[in-house]
C-alpha cells in the first residue's frame, strides 16, 4: 500500500535555530496537511495545502511557520526560530481529493528543541 514518508524520524535542534521537516506524500495526492502533538496532548491541526498554497491554517501556525512544496514531491514544514514549546511530534498527511476520501498519515517526526 502507498504510504506517506517523513524524514527525519527524530530531530534535535537548539532553541532559535531553523528546522525543516520533510514529507513525501503519496504520489497522486493533491491535499497535504501538517499536524502536531505535544507530548501527552491531543493531535492538533496546523495547516492544509492545496494547489501550491495554504488553504487553511490554525492559530498555532503563526509567522514562525511556513510550508512549501518545492519540487512536486516533497512537502516541507519550516520553523524559522524554534522555541522550547515547539517540541512535539509532527505528522504529515495527504489525501487524493477533498471530498469523501481518506487521508493517510506519515509515521511522524519527533522534534526536540533544547
Amino acid at each position: 500500500e502507498p504510504e506517506v514518508t517523513q524524514t527525519p524520524s527524530h530531530q534535535v535542534t537548539q532553541m532559535g535555530q531553523e528546522v525543516i521537516l520533510r514529507c513525501v506524500p503519496i504520489s497522486n495526492h493533491l491535499y497535504f496537511y501538517w499536524y502536531r502533538q505535544i507530548l501527552g496532548q491531543k493531535v492538533e491541526f496546523l495547516v492544509s495545502f492545496y494547489n501550491n498554497e495554504i488553504s487553511e491554517k490554525s492559530e498555532i501556525f503563526d509567522d514562525q511557520f511556513s510550508v512549501e512544496r518545492p519540487d512536486g514531491s516533497n512537502f516541507t514544514l519550516k520553523i524559522r526560530s524554534t522555541k522550547l514549546e515547539d517540541s512535539a511530534m509532527y505528522f504529515c498527511a495527504s489525501r487524493d481529493t477533498q471530498a469523501n476520501t481518506e487521508a493517510f498519515f506519515g509515521q511522524g517526526t519527533r522534534l526536540t528543541v533544547v
Partner: protein, 112 residues
C-alpha cells in the same frame, strides 16, 4: 465545528479478554471517515481501523471491530482477545471535508 470526545482517559483489560473504547463525535456533515489510531510509546500513529460513514456495515480488522452508530454519532472500538502488544494510547479521529479532528485519547493497559 466538529468535535470528537473520548470519555475514558484510561482503560485496562486482562490479557485475552475483550475491551471496548468509547468515542462520540459531533458533525453536520453527512459523508466522512472515522478512524481509530494506536499510538505506542514510540509515538508513531498507527491506523487500527477505518469506517466510512456511508457504509452501514461495521468495519472489522482481525481482533478489532467497531460499533458505528451514525444517528447517535457514536464510534466505539472493540478489541477482542487482548494482547500485551495492544497496550498503547488509542485516538479516535473524525475526518471531514477539510481536516482531521482527534479525541483526547484513551490509554489502554493490558494486564497479564
Amino acid at each position: 465545528a466538529q468535535t470528537v470526545t473520548q470519555s475514558q482517559p484510561e482503560m485496562s483489560v486482562q490479557e485475552a479478554e475483550t475491551v471496548t473504547l468509547s468515542c462520540t463525535y459531533d458533525t453536520s456533515e453527512s459523508d466522512y471517515y472515522l478512524f481509530w489510531y494506536k499510538q505506542p510509546p514510540s509515538r508513531q500513529m498507527i491506523l487500527v481501523i477505518r469506517q466510512e460513514a456511508y457504509k452501514q456495515q461495521n468495519a472489522t480488522e482481525n481482533r478489532f471491530s467497531v460499533n458505528f452508530q451514525k444517528a447517535a454519532k457514536s464510534f466505539s472500538l472493540k478489541i477482542s482477545d487482548s494482547q500485551l502488544g495492544d497496550a498503547a494510547m488509542y485516538f479516535c479521529a473524525y475526518e471531514g471535508r477539510d481536516q482531521f479532528y482527534f479525541g483526547t485519547g484513551t490509554s489502554l493497559t493490558v494486564i497479564p
